[in-house]
Symmetry: C2
Subunit: 428 residues, 2 copies
């Protein structure tokens, strides 16, 4: 972790710039996969699965028997932990459901309202790899269920032997997600975007993934399919003052660093001494971590900014717009109100990011790479769309009709004007 | 307008398929423009403006004097019409502002909430062309102002002579949008996405445009900048029964057809006789429209589906997912509740689409090309992002900490577990 003494915003911006993601090299490969699956359906998916995952499941769809068998493999203490997480995630996301319709009479006789409706068909991607990201099944599946999405498709790559990780399957099972497919990578994104003989086409695709998955999501998004948000390496900012517990701050920084060597971590701290304390403590904790090789690399690339005060710290995190922000200072409640750009904010000494990653109830799918300037983290809005409705009475068209006629004429759209004129004439 | 007798959903899907947009040919051109502006700033913008718009304004920024002069050019009756529209749009969009924070205690001691914050910097693109789309300035500028976006940038191409249409400028002026630039096309999108010496970089870009603008928005969206939604030709579905006024339905269909030869229009009607009546009436109205050449072409490409009943009609419009849906039937209120996929819905004989295009209060920036499956029309959410916050007390971390430890261990993320463990140990 290298230290920066704050001087100017411009200097900070220069030093905290995120590395640009390199994807140009794989775009042609992913494009070929998309075309192959779009045109070849299940057969293409099978061939690509054999090629990339060295595995060829007999059946792409996970059977009810496989789901039952997975359930038996999950230890009881983990089931209990998952139940706690599930309850909290449900509670928080259910609270976000839109309230009852509000009818707004904008002019007398003109009534407008919004209504949120679930997206009918959604797709969830759960990456494979060494660690099974079953928590993401909860984070995507629970709000999809609460929204009322009628069809929820889940794809995850088969491991050696051709099965999906049992904890991932268990989470899908308890949420009532029955269409689970042993498909990974960009072929999974293609299958959900275009549909195949087995995999239903969906309207929006959610979930993390490697570079190939990310590029595939971008490419299908440019065409027809909505996606949750742009993806980038995971990020954490910690704001610390003289009373921050260095062991807590160090553990939080490392929890982000272990995600990958490209993880982005920043410490914003009000004294040089505290920075040194936290860094020293992090080095002690790092030495005994199982994923220390990964964490050490991203920790070495991380920065600590020495700031004048906590207000300046939050000002800089607003410039950086981190995915996660921990505020572990005496004035944490006050400065939390000044947060403008961040995905999820953790206030106080006990609010560690990993609580939000798993079980506090907030979503862990969050905007990275500065997307927090414009994007929300995943929430109930992500699984619904709002339709506007309006009714116009005779009085209503009399009230606003002439304004519409005048404006349509000024835009040289006479047929637009005429749609009002024929109605006003009939009312004369 | 060609008639289809409904037989099966599959048959309808085949016949109502939208033509695919062709953009591959212009991607390299647009990519060059993006790179030129990103690297060359204002100088590149000027060169491209001269090349594409045959115009080279001295100053890219519209001066306060130019804004004042524009105001004097707008006739009083149009100003009054704009004032009515503005008030209604403000009223409806203000009603969408998020209510006060709701604190949710998910487990004892764990409190989570969402807070919506304005996107700091947004960009608005207003196309040039023959008709000045000043109504779009209202539809994008009003919610941006209500949200509290700090910086609102507006770009619109200079016409011959180097000025932006005065009505467009007038609308910007009354909304308090001061950063108005005489820049059009993909160079405008690039300038707002990357920033230049004069044009501030923004985080999200809104607004319609031609193919070049659409592709530029897609390309900057794949990198760093959020955009409002994918763009496609305008669309309208009308549901009609035996009592629908044929003159109204015909006028509505034509109001959509005049947008462009690629406009998509569909009539869903419960009898063959009513279909014939509406088509005959449309042909009469078409003959006297100023934009009849455009409207005639898209009307010829439009379809009328003869359905068994209005329930079937709304079922088919849900499959088609039109941008606009007019329900002009006796049972309009009942079947409106069955709408699942549409951008904006107009209920009853006086609710014409052009009312919503200008002055009823709803937004006219809506999902096209089937995007209504997954996207909302523009609304207050589009100008804000929601940040989640959480506080966790000593009790809170005791309550959920063990579940987090268990789940993190199962995902093999030990540093995540450790962030909880160090806290629980300190509390022992």
């Amino acid at each position: 972790m290298f230290k920066i003494q704050y001087t100017t915003d411009e200097d900070f911006i220069g030093r905290s710039r995120r590395p640009a993601a390199k994807t140009d090299d794989i775009i042609p490969i992913v494009r070929d996969v998309l075309v192959a699956v779009r045109d070849g359906g299940d057969k293409a998916v099978r061939e690509l699965t054999l090629k990339f995952d060295k595995s060829c499941p007999n059946d792409l769809l996970v059977s009810p028997e496989e789901l039952d068998a997975a359930e038996r493999e999950v230890p009881d203490d983990l089931k209990k932990a998952i139940a706690i997480a599930r309850e909290n995630i449900e509670k928080f996301h259910r609270s976000q459901l839109p309230q009852k319709r509000e009818y707004v009479e904008t002019s007398k006789g003109v009534v407008c309202w919004q209504q949120a409706k679930a997206i009918d068909k959604v797709g969830i991607y759960i990456p494979g790899g060494t660690a099974p990201l079953f928590s993401t099944v909860l984070m995507l599946g629970i709000p999809a269920k609460i929204a009322g999405c009628k069809e929820i498709v889940l794809c995850s790559p088969p491991r050696n032997g051709g099965a999906i990780n049992p904890i991932v399957l268990y989470c899908a099972k308890i949420l009532g997600i029955h269409k689970v497919f042993k498909i990974g990578g960009s072929q999974a994104i293609a299958a959900m975007a275009y549909g195949t003989e087995s995999v239903p086409k969906v309207y929006k695709i959610f979930g993390p993934g490697n570079r190939f998955v990310t590029v595939a999501k971008q490419l299908v998004n440019s065409a027809d399919t909505a996606i949750d948000m742009p993806a980038g390496p995971s990020e954490l900012a910690v704001i610390a003052d003289q009373n921050t517990n260095p062991a807590f701050a160090a553990a939080d920084l490392l929890s982000q660093c272990e995600h990958g060597t490209d993880s982005q971590v920043g410490l914003f701290v009000t004294s040089n001494e505290k920075a040194d304390e936290i860094i020293a403590e992090a080095k002690r904790q790092l030495a005994v971590l199982p994923r220390r090789e990964i964490a050490a690399q991203s920790f070495a690339n991380s920065f600590a900014v020495i700031v004048n005060d906590t207000c300046q710290a939050v000002h800089l995190t607003n410039i950086w717009a981190p995915e996660h922000l921990i505020i572990s200072t005496d004035d944490c409640n006050e400065i939390a109100d000044q947060v403008q750009n961040a995905g999820s904010v953790f206030i106080g000494k006990y609010a560690c990011e990993s609580a939000g990653d798993y079980a506090s109830g907030t979503n862990h799918t969050l905007p990275t790479n500065g997307a927090a300037y414009a994007y929300s983290g995943l929430n109930m809005d992500s699984f619904m769309k709002k339709i506007t409705f309006q009714t116009i009475s005779e009085d209503g068209i009399r009230n606003i009709g002439p304004a519409v006629e005048t404006m349509a004429a000024a835009e040289q759209l006479d047929a637009h004007r005429n749609a009002v004129t024929v109605r006003l004439q009939q009312l004369k």
